[in-house]
Amino acid sequence: MNLTCTIQPGKRGCMGTSRFFLRGILLLGLLASGASLLARAASPQATNNQAALVRQSSITFVGTVSQVAASALAAVPKSPQTIVVRVDSVLKKPAAVSLKKGDTITVEVKDPAAFPEGMQATFYTEGWIFGSGVAVKELGHSAPPSGGAAETAEKPVEQAPSGISDQDLQRLLATCDYVVIGRVTDVHPWTVPKSASPRYRTSEHSANWQEAVLQVQSVLKGPKVKKNKNKVVVRFPLSRDVAWVSAPKFEPGQQGIFILQKDVSGTSVGGYKADVYTCLKPGDWLPMTEEPRVRLLLKNR
């Protein structure tokens, strides 16, 4: 990986590569436009902090402070902590958010003294209030690119990934019981046993539970399986209700990475007692192209 792959107009990252590499490229690209232009003597620690900021930030932009102790959004009362910034260049934002060069944005900063009027900086922020404009909270900032606004104005906007972020995936991996690569061999409705029926009464949020039989091919986290007992059962909701629409749905033959939670009950598959897991959250199933990222995050946790 090298900095020559920095995002440039007409070359929107290395789109043919995996998201893993794209993220790395984006990260380094942002570092090139922001972090590497920070204090001239950027230590490894500073670089690490910068990388963390890039990951955490949902809205990243280069801007010039136009007012201190002020707010450009009626819903955000001005305070010593709020400043108004003119956007010179947007580096990263979710697709739904309208933010472009020339807009004003209200920023709640950590240290107001660090932001005199006229100062330009790269702002790493999280969204706060969305109205006629945007108010954000500063996660961190760095010195502006050396070329100033004229240079940054040409930067293309990188949309925050619509899929699961590294942070969210890290959290899923940390809290799950089992991570496996496998293939679905069968899907059938789960008949709720009478003893459990009070937990599954009728509501518009009823899950329409299904069971997918999963042939485990390799285990990335959790107990290993024996060769002749390599099947587990994964329960998932088929319902299109708002509660479950984002939960993974499975079909026979589907392969991928399954991030699973242990269910209290067991079941029988092929004559032996098989473990039962649930797969409920967006990101609990990932395509095989995500394997390098999952392995890396598991290794680094």
Partner: protein, 494 residues
């Protein structure tokens, strides 16, 4: 980014009203209903809640709700199935207005991660917070469905709402609140599926601003194992509290045989055995049976257009005469109707009810009923009807138990677009409130910026070009249509 002004075509609106009234009430109803329709009032307001800075969003922002700060009705909170716009792990947001609904911002303060899967709320003034107290009932849907009963003292702050009570296996929390002696009394109707008796219709009551809650089952009869999802309280300033629910007696997976039951408490549920003031003469048990054993279709799939059906219910009490109470619901219609609305009224504190539907309130192929009663006794009736391939949102008002009515259409939008992302398509409910001399409410609809779709006019905060009927992302790029929440207000009939 542009905010388009309202579309002042009152003459057209009047024409649409009269014509549409013919369509609406012509379905199996007396033609006299058409003559009963009168012109739309001036100054109706409709506002798309999506802020300009989220012009690029394409979510299905369905199932709206609304709360108004009684002491300062400029302040309102609305909600919908709107996800946190920037993070899968951030808090689910609410919409906040501080200018009586003209503009709205999105503020991520609910205790639920990313997006609620049910949310209702009410603002009361017992604790004298000028931009609170917002009391919310939210469902978080992850491995299990969890109810949070929570509070905010200031809905414009970034502080996440304080969770005051929490439990799992609960459905459709529905919040009402009213201040008594400087303390907020909160009543949350819900279907407590954890009730082992099967008598699941429940009201959670807090008499101390949410610091503590007590849970009361309000079903006194045998059920098929549970009651229907909707449990709706209504509170009058004289401490009278009503609640309506569906007492499910049979259920085969696609049809419920249900009573529509109303309970009452005369002391704000402060006694040890609340909600037992109203007994049915047939069995002397608490809970008046307004209608018995009606058939209610249950379909958790697109059935009424792209909408599911199964549990729409509303109750409203006259704030100045708690003896007068209205209840409305939907059940299986006759003559091929999929889902038919009904409204009944009691003028003796729920002891007796109109024997049949009030005039002009039997509405075929409709859902999302919401009732409210204004200070002058005018009843408001919000519903959404599938008619001629369109979802038509009506607000009907009447001073005489719907013998004569004023019907105002706030939206008439194509029902086949956009394609549903999940269920519910528009919502399992919408909401109507009486505030001074206005009815205020929320509904969801296709957000195509087409003036013909909004006969009372409409204001979009998000970027929209009404000439080309396209949405844009604020930078000129087109954005697909989706379901948006809309706020409306309309003067109460004098």
């Amino acid at each position: 980014m542009r905010a388009l002004p309202g579309y002042p075509t009152r003459a057209l609106a009047l024409t649409v009203l009269v014509v549409t009234a013919g369509t609406v009430f012509g379905r199996g109803q007396s033609p006299t209903a058409v003559r009963a329709g009168v012109a739309a009032p001036a100054h109706a307001k409709v506002v798309d809640l999506i802020p300009a800075s989220l012009s690029g969003e394409i979510n299905q922002d369905s199932e709206p709700f609304l709360a108004v700060q009684v002491a300062n009705p400029q302040v309102m909170v609305a909600s919908a199935f709107t996800p946190n716009p920037i993070s899968g792990t951030g808090n689910a947001p609410v919409y906040v207005s501080e200018d009586a609904g003209n503009t709205w911002v999105l503020n991520a303060i609910t205790p639920v991660q990313r997006m609620t899967c049910d949310i209702t709320h009410a603002m009361s003034i017992g604790e004298n917070h000028p931009r609170g107290d917002l009391h919310a009932g939210t469902l978080a849907c992850a491995a299990s469905i969890t109810l949070d009963e929570s509070e905010s003292d200031d809905v414009s702050s970034s502080a996440v709402m304080r969770v005051q009570s929490s439990r799992t296996n609960v459905d459709q929390p529905f919040v009402r609140a009213l201040a008594f002696s400087n303390v907020d009394h909160i009543y949350i109707g819900l279907n407590d599926l954890g009730q082992s008796s099967g008598r699941t219709a429940t009201v959670d009551v807090s008499l101390d601003g949410g610091a503590s809650y007590k849970s009361y089952s309000i079903e006194s009869r045998k059920t098929m194992g549970q009651d229907g999802p909707s449990v709706r309280p209504a509170v009058a300033p004289d401490n009278t509290v009503y609640a309506a629910f569906f007492g499910w007696r049979k259920f085969n997976g696609s049809m419920a045989t249900s009573d529509v039951v109303v309970v009452r408490d005369d002391t704000g549920a402060t006694g040890s055995h609340p909600f037992q003031a109203l007994k049915d003469p047939s069995d002397k048990l608490p809970g008046r049976l307004v209608v018995k054993r009606v058939s209610i279709p249950w379909s958790n799939a697109p059935t009424l257009g792209q909408e599911r059906i199964g549990s729409t219910l509303s109750i409203a009490v006259d704030p100045n005469n708690s003896s007068t109470v209205y209840v409305g619901w939907a059940d299986r219609g006759s003559k091929g109707d999929i889902y038919t609305l009904h409204v009944r009224r009691s003028t003796d504190r729920g002891l007796t009810w109109s024997k049949s539907d009030l005039p002009h309130t039997t509405i075929s192929n409709a859902t999302n009923i919401a009732l409210a009663v204004a200070n002058n006794g005018t009843a408001g009736f919000l519903f959404q009807q599938l008619s001629g391939g369109r979802w038509v949102t009506h607000v009907v008002q009447s001073r005489d138990a719907f013998a004569t009515i004023q019907d105002t259409i706030h939206a008439t939008v194509p029902a086949d677009r956009p394609l549903g992302q999940f269920l519910p398509y528009l919502g399992d409910y919408d909401y109507l409130l009486a505030v001074g001399n206005e009815f205020r409410g929320v509904f969801c609809a296709n957000n195509t910026p087409d003036r013909a779709n909004f006969p009372q006019g409409v204001t979009y905060q998000r970027a929209a070009d009404f000439n080309t009927r396209t949405l844009t992302d604020g930078s000129g790029n087109p954005v697909a249509i989706s379901i948006d929440p809309f706020y409306f207000s309309i003067p109460v009939m004098p």
